[in-house]
């Protein structure tokens, strides 16, 4: 059926992959996958972590060699496999998620890197590089000072530099790996404009992502992978995020509204007119015992900054924070933790957990006092405490001494939650708790959150995925540009209402 939709009377594909098989040490990463890209189209490649998306990019760009039997037809030629050089020479470019830029070098050097600096040893002509860079930026309708080091620019401009670099080599096919992950809405809009122009100029663009809501609008087709196999190819028109999720996971999620009325419960947190100019302004809200307050909004809306100031890591300029009625002023997050506030970071890899260290140590790091007796840490107490939480939250681990990095995203997040629960908090702030967690494993996280709320914990759930807060929070705040612009009660509104407000 999948084949049928893609075999309509369409122009000859620019890229056509047939029978790709790829395995690593006997574990199959791609099973008999076929993939087509038409000239000038915008194509989405969707799949969960580990579904084979990045393996596919690496095969097309020559980083990996697929097993024999694969046919790569590209631009009228057939290749048994690619190499990085042939792929680049043939006009295949990738904009990696980490951008792979050089912050200390100038914008011009970054853009002209492949064409000028990447070549064999010779003298550099800075003027030539500057010309290339200015021209490439002009094509995107952007002007930057090409002589400044790249580190002077913010992430959105850096992404533009990465795109400009990809276009220098007369690209015909551009892969964009999770391109909107770190962009705000207006930056995303600008990116989409650029992609539209590229597409109009005949360059094919493939978006690779597990979250495609923003880019579906301008896409032509959608290819979904699951567990290394092709699920199907679909027209993008009329596709919605929930349907993509079903295709990616193979499961149907029937969401039920969790929202309850907890207005009779005592107030745990009361924030009044909290401001930190430039980050957030005039924020007022309350959270009650057993309540889950959702905060949504786009990247850059000031959500994380607000959370950090409740956690004592960012000082507000004015306004008050009251915990159980008492005004508090934290000089560090240690004060906040002592007062019963816990904060699960949005960046699990570099801030949420100490990845190389053991599961047990990560779980107890915030509550060392509990495993201390007579001034010394007790291994037995640590083991007990950890074992207790592992059972309590249903975490699947090998040994307590294994590095956290060996766990799946979902289990890592449970360890991070357990770490904070071990501090016995009154208020738990969860900042994007499902980032990097497979769609299938997210339900488990939300079950835990619901259980915690039922046991009386006050929870702030921050997410830029509107359905998450709609279905799992009791009330929803919408932040934009540092202010609360809307307040929703999921029982009295629809998901569309909130989405319309957020993506307006």
């Amino acid at each position: 059926m999948a084949e049928m939709t893609s075999m309509e009377s369409s122009p000859k594909p620019l890229l056509s992959l047939r029978n790709i098989n790829m395995s690593f040490g006997g574990i199959s990463a791609l099973k008999n996958v076929s993939f087509d890209v038409l000239p000038g189209e915008v194509h989405c490649l969707a799949g969960e972590n580990g579904s084979g998306k990045s393996t596919l990019i690496k095969i097309v760009t020559g980083v990996y060699r697929p097993e024999p039997g694969t046919i790569i037809d590209y631009d009228g030629q057939t290749y048994p496999h690619m190499s990085p050089m042939t792929a680049q020479a043939a006009g295949i470019q990738v904009i990696w998620q980490d951008l792979a830029l050089f912050p200390e070098m100038t914008v011009a050097e970054n853009i002209a890197f492949q064409t000028v600096l990447g070549s064999r040893p010779r003298f550099v002509h800075y003027g030539h590089m500057r010309d290339i860079a200015v021209k490439a930026l002009a094509r995107l309708g952007v002007s930057l000072d090409v002589d400044l080091p790249l580190k002077e620019y913010a992430i959105a401009q850096r992404q533009i530099v990465a795109i400009a670099r990809a276009l220098v080599g007369e690209a015909k096919l551009v892969f964009m790996d999770e391109p909107t992950a770190s962009l705000t809405q207006s930056e995303t809009d600008h990116l989409l404009d650029i992609v539209r122009n590229l597409s109009a100029a005949g360059v094919a663009v493939v978006f690779v992502s597990h979250r495609l809501a923003e880019v579906l609008d301008i896409s032509n087709r959608l290819t979904v992978l699951r567990d290394g196999a092709l699920v199907g190819v679909y027209p993008a028109a009329g596709m919605i995020q929930s349907r993509i999720t079903e295709l990616m996971t193979g499961k149907t999620f029937d969401h039920k509204l969790r929202a309850r009325d907890v207005s009779a419960n005592p107030v745990v947190l009361e924030v009044q007119n909290l401001s930190r100019p430039g980050l957030f302004e005039d924020i007022s809200f309350t959270v009650r015992r057993g309540e889950t307050l959702g905060i949504t909004g786009l990247l850059g809306a000031g959500r994380t900054e607000l959370a950090l100031s409740l956690f004592g890591m960012l000082k507000p300029r004015s306004g008050t924070i009251r915990l159980e009625g008492k005004p508090v002023r934290f000089s560090s997050n240690r004060d906040a933790i002592a007062a019963g506030v816990a904060y699960l970071s949005e960046d699990r890899l570099s801030l949420g957990l100490v990845q190389p260290q053991s599961i047990a140590d990560n779980l107890v790091v915030a509550s060392l006092g509990r495993i201390t007796s007579g001034g010394f840490l007790s291994d037995d107490r640590k083991r007990e405490l950890v074992a207790g939480w592992i059972t309590n939250l249903g975490i699947r681990i090998g040994r307590q001494g294994d590095a956290v990095s060996t766990l799946s995203g979902g289990n890592q997040q449970r360890i991070a939650i357990a770490k904070w629960l071990a501090t016995d908090p009154k208020l738990l702030i969860l900042d994007a708790p499902t980032v990097g967690v497979d769609v299938g494993a997210r339900a488990g996280i939300f079950e835990i959150i619901a259980k915690l709320a039922d046991s009386g914990l006050a929870i702030i759930l921050i997410s830029d995925e509107v359905p998450e807060v709609y279905f799992h929070a009791d009330r929803v705040l919408h932040m934009a540009e540092g202010r609360i612009v809307n307040r929703f009660a999921p029982r009295d509104c629809t998901l569309r209402d909130i989405e319309a407000a957020v993506y307006a």
């Binding site: 990696w96 200390e104 890197f113 600096l117 990447g118 040893p121 550099v124 002589d147 002077e152 913010a154």
Partner: protein, 333 residues
Amino acid sequence: MRSIIQSHATEFALLVVIAVISVVLSLSTDSFLTPGNAFDLLNSSSVNIIFAVGLLVVLIAGGIDISFAVAASVAQYVTAILLGWIGGGGWISGLLIAGGVGVLLGAFNAFLIHKFRIISIVATIATFNIYFGLLMFFTRGVSIYNLPDWLTERVILYEREMADGSWIEITLPVLVMTICVIATWIFITRTTTGRQLYAFGDNPDGARRFGVNIAAMQFIAFGWLGLMAGIGGLVQAHYAQEVVPNALYGRELDVLAAVVLGGARLGGGKGTVLGCVLGVLLISITQNGLNLAGVSPFAFKMIIGAIILAAITLSNSNLEKRLPFMRQAKGRG
């Protein structure tokens, strides 16, 4: 102008500090601000500057090398012995041998680092001990004083008596140093390979994905430092008119301090030849000035240590906050 100061903040700051120190010293001593003294300074700093520009290249490529100073001693010794065998030789053969030995020793570091993925500080601490231990073992710590005449004879390329009676001299070490500095500058700013070194130091993974040859980068960086170490070693033998196997022992950390003072970053991707030379000069000028001011020679190092400590502390404690014009565009633009 603002952008020049901004993008060369370290060099600018060093120049200011050097100027201030020079003014203070020239007011407190008569002999500091004389051409004769300036050229003396240049002569005596030559060896360190040669080492420094070599080390700069390794730092830019994201590595560190502890072994180069003892490698220079090895190069010195081997050259002295080989020159004895071939019956004298000359500057060309001397530089070729010393440079060649240096490159070999540097390449051995690169081999360990690339082939076995040993991080550079571990690998070069190991080779530091190997090179130095073997040198002392085979030479039994015996110095060579019987060097060929051409090596010990002072070569004065230009001399002139100034009005105040002091002599200015440009000697061979200064020439060799100038060539090394210019060659390094051209190499790292004007060739594709040099820029690839910056890219590799800045973002190794990114550089790899864009086709930069990682093995070549390691061998070139450590090879260049090896070359500079060999040349510097021979020049030092010329300057000191003797080859003492442990004469350069400990120099590595002094040079490292000077290079980092000059703005190079441990971790790679950053550093300029100008900053590096100014870093060495700042230290020499301070030392020279203190000497002329009659400060006890035993106090030099203490004061220099304090200056470096202060410089590192200041340069890391958010200068931008204190100097608004240097503030960078941070965060979302």
